[in-house]
Amino acid sequence: MSPRVPRDELRVLGLTALAVLAFPYLFAEAPVVSDVLNGYAGLATPILIWGIFVMGYDLLHGYTGLLSFGHAAFWGAGGMTVGALIHHAEFSFPLVAVALAVIVGILLAALIGYLSLRRGGIYFAILTLAFGQMIYYTMLGPAGQLTNGEDGLILDASSLFGVIPLDAGLPVLTPLGIIPSWLYAVTGVLTLVSVAVAYRILQSPYGLVFKAIRENEQRASFVGLNVWRYKLAAFVASGAFAGLAGGLHALQAGNASASPFYWIVSGDVVIMSILGGVGTLFGGFIGAGIYLYMDNVASSIGLIGDRWHLLLGVLFVVIVWLFPDGVWGGLRRLRSMVGSDDTTHTQTTDDGGND
């Protein structure tokens, strides 16, 4: 009756794959664009990694309406899982370590979510922040043996299957450009998987229930939904993506320390999420891109330098002012203004036919 992979999912995955393939080339090699962006290929990987983090966070914040200030904990825990396995246990399967980072993210999010979701609104936000900071100080002090504090663990054996170093070049020329490194290839594939999972969650009953909770939590429970459990599910899902991204980040940075547990990271995710667009899913990658570009590229332009935070702040205000639903939301609105016939078409297709 219906195809195995529905059309909208094929489209989303196809476009994501294209974007992942074209991204490093556009950013670092393309004739004019790369000059304007002044980027370097090394930034392509972290942008995808942070993008995964922000996309997962959006399930919680954008779709379910729960503002967490504690997601550094899951990002940090993912990184520390990978770090401890490779550094202490001399584990030579980074991808397995990353899979374990996801599981650690899930378990920790289940615990912190269970405790924090007892309260709503600002109290929830503060509880997540408090738990996050408790974990940070634990990593810094009591668990210092494990984490080596702020200095962290060096991960030099980050190789694929114990053979190929992840940062080794993989200058494979695709029709769209080059794949800069093995790590980028791995990250790209995991980005695709993450987008597929997150998108599917939103197409599932959960997607609708999340929005129902965001829109009117009380009503959601008075139509028979166990709101509390769905909130926990959103929290755990976002923790899983954070764990995955944190694990990848440790591989990419070649270091796992207590610093990623610090609350600033939780704030960064919120900023990226708002820049890209709250409740837009894909906007997370744009938000991460803008933030990391400012941090790494703009900050090395003489005139801007250390003032990049200020510039980012100004940019933040301008974007929020112009596009309340972020850059992605702005683009979407632009598109529906230009090609409005396209959207009406997709809306009317589902009630014709099959009955």
Binding site: P205, S221, F222
Partner: protein, 252 residues
């Protein structure tokens, strides 16, 4: 065995006794109205049944089983749903999604691990949502954001959300409050239709005596937290106690 039964229900808010020793019951397929002056405790009684409030004393049984240990969402799962006194809808979502949420909640339980299955494969959810919106006359507006509906339509959607749960007992708290005469007439007609079509059992809170007299099999009169009378519309019309209570509080 009655469908719903309350036994000596007492609810106190500090010094105020909102319901005082209320024992009422509703049989299957019975249409009951709950009337009484402002502050009589009507909404409180409804909120006790939906488990939004905990009673100070007393017992509530649905289908013979106590529901006092249940959460509000469990009560809906058992078959009791409620339409709110003010429209409590999902404002940013299209009307059809408002109905789908309600159908999903009732059909698929309070919580399911179906986060990787697509909602568009849940044909029965779509069918219930569609049928409900057709019943409440909002099918043509299904793509409109709920927030953009006119007031009367919002209240109809509110009723639709409660109906999409396909409840065994529907609780309606002043479904026509604040409506224009035309909207009120349309809503009453809607309730009449649904009542006939769906074999609905309901408990209706309503101030408009004409509506109450026409729509109910039985009327329960509440005053200052206590049941002062109950009976058929004719019996209530003739009861002096009811006349007195209403003369006291008939300033609307």
């Amino acid at each position: 065995m009655p469908l719903l039964e309350t036994e000596n229900l007492v609810k106190r808010f500090g010094g105020v006794t909102a319901t005082d020793d209320v024992s009422v019951s509703i049989e299957s397929n019975e249409r009951v109205s709950l009337i009484g002056p402002n502050g009589a405790g009507k909404s409180t009684l409804i909120n006790l049944i939906t488990r939004r409030l905990d009673p100070t004393e007393g017992e509530i049984r649905f289908n013979g089983e106590s529901i006092l240990g249940l959460k509000p969402h469990d009560v809906v799962q058992r078959g009791v749903s409620k339409s709110f006194q003010t429209a409590s809808i999902f404002p940013q979502l299209p009307v059809i999604d408002n109905a789908r949420i309600a159908a999903l909640g009732a059909e698929h339980g309070a919580f399911r691990l179906n986060l990787l299955s697509r909602l568009d494969s849940y044909d029965e959810v779509d069918a219930v949502a569609r049928e409900t919106l057709q019943d409440v006359g909002l099918w043509a507006e299904r793509e409109t954001a709920a927030a953009d509906l006119p007031y009367g339509d919002k209240r109809r959607l509110e009723l639709g959300i409660a109906l999409a749960a396909e409840p065994d007992l529907l609780l309606m708290d002043e479904p026509t409050a604040g409506m224009s005469p035309e909207e009120t007439a349309a809503t009453v007609e809607l309730i009449e239709n649904v009542k006939a079509e769906r074999d609905l059992t309901f408990l209706l809170v309503e101030h408009d005596m004409e509506i109450v007299m026409n729509i109910s099999d039985r009327i329960i009169v509440l005053d200052r937290g206590s049941v002062i009378a109950q009976g058929t519309p004719e019996e209530i019309r003739e009861s002096e106690r009811v006349q007195d209570a209403y003369l006291g509080g008939a300033d609307r």
